[in-house]
Subunit: 146 residues, 2 copies
Amino acid sequence: MAKTQSSDEMGTLSSKDLETVIRGADLRPTRQRLALANLLFAKGNRHITAEILHTEALDAGVKISLATIYNNLHQFTDAGLLREVVVDASKSYFDTNTLPHHHFFYDEEQRLEDIPDGQIRVENIPDIPEGYNISEVGVIVRLSRS
Amino acid sequence: MAKTQSSDEMGTLSSKDLETVIRGADLRPTRQRLALANLLFAKGNRHITAEILHTEALDAGVKISLATIYNNLHQFTDAGLLREVVVDASKSYFDTNTLPHHHFFYDEEQRLEDIPDGQIRVENIPDIPEGYNISEVGVIVRLSRS
DNA sequence: GAGTAGTTTAGAATATTTCTAAATTATTGA
DNA sequence: TCAATAATTTAGAAATATTCTAAACTACTC
C-alpha cells in the first residue's frame, strides 16, 4: 500500500497504520488519540460532532474527556486528517474526507452527506480581489422532507 | 413604486415604507423594531450579526436589549425579510438580500460579501433521495490573504 | 530510569443564543 | 377616550457549544 493515503481510503487501517498516521502528524499515539483515530478513520467516511464522538468513545469503553475530543479534533484538522464543515450555526462537523467535495445537509436530521467530487461543478466564480486567494469553495445542498 | 419590493431594492425606504413592510409581516411597528428595520434596510445590502446590530442600535441612541435584537432578527427571517447565512461556526449572519445568491467570506476579516446571482452557476447537482426537496443551494467562496 | 515535553483532565470560563416571567406598549372595539 | 387584549420588550437566568487553565499523567529521549 502506498505510504501516503488520502483520507478517502483510510477505511481499512489497522491499528499499526493508525499509529503511523498519528506519528506522521507529529502527534503521540496515546491511548485516547488512537481510540479516536480508530473511531474516525477505521470505517469509511464520517461526519461527526464533538459530542457524538465523545458518546461513541464512552460507549466503546474509552475513558476520555470532552476537552480531549476537542483537542484532538483540532489537531487532526490542523494535520490535514480532518476537515471542518460549517453547516449549522450552533455546532461544528468534522469530515474524515479531506478531498475536495461538497455536501448534502438533511435539515430535519441534522445530517451531512458527501456529494462525491466531480459530481457538482461550480462555474463562473468571479474575479477575486487583489491580494486574496480562494481557500475553499464549499457547496451545501440543503434537503428537507417534502 | 411597486407594492412588493425585493429586499434588494429596499435601500431607499422611508420610515412610512418601513412601517408598511413591518405591518405586512404581521408585526407591530414598535420603536425598537422600526429602528432595527431602519438600520437593516435603509442602506442597501447588509450582512450583520446580532452583536453588531446591537452595537449599531446603541450607537444610534436606540435603547434596546440584545434579546430584542434576536427576537426581531428571527421574526424578520421568518417573514422572509432576512436570510440567515451559516458561514462561521460560532455566530450567525443575517443577510438583507433574500434573493438567491452566493457569498464570498473573507476569513481574516470575518466578513461576508454577496456574489450577485447569475454570476456563479452550480451544475450537475445529483439526484436527491425520494421524499426530499432542495431547500437551498449555498455556495461560499472563502478568501484569505495571499 | 530521570528529565522533558506533550497530553489529558476536571472544572472554570467564555461566547452566543434562548428562555422566563414580569413590565411595557400597541391595538381593538365599546 | 378608555379598558381589555395581545404583542413586545426586557433583565437576568439558563442553555449550549467551545475554549481555557493549571495540575496530574504519560510518552519519549538520552
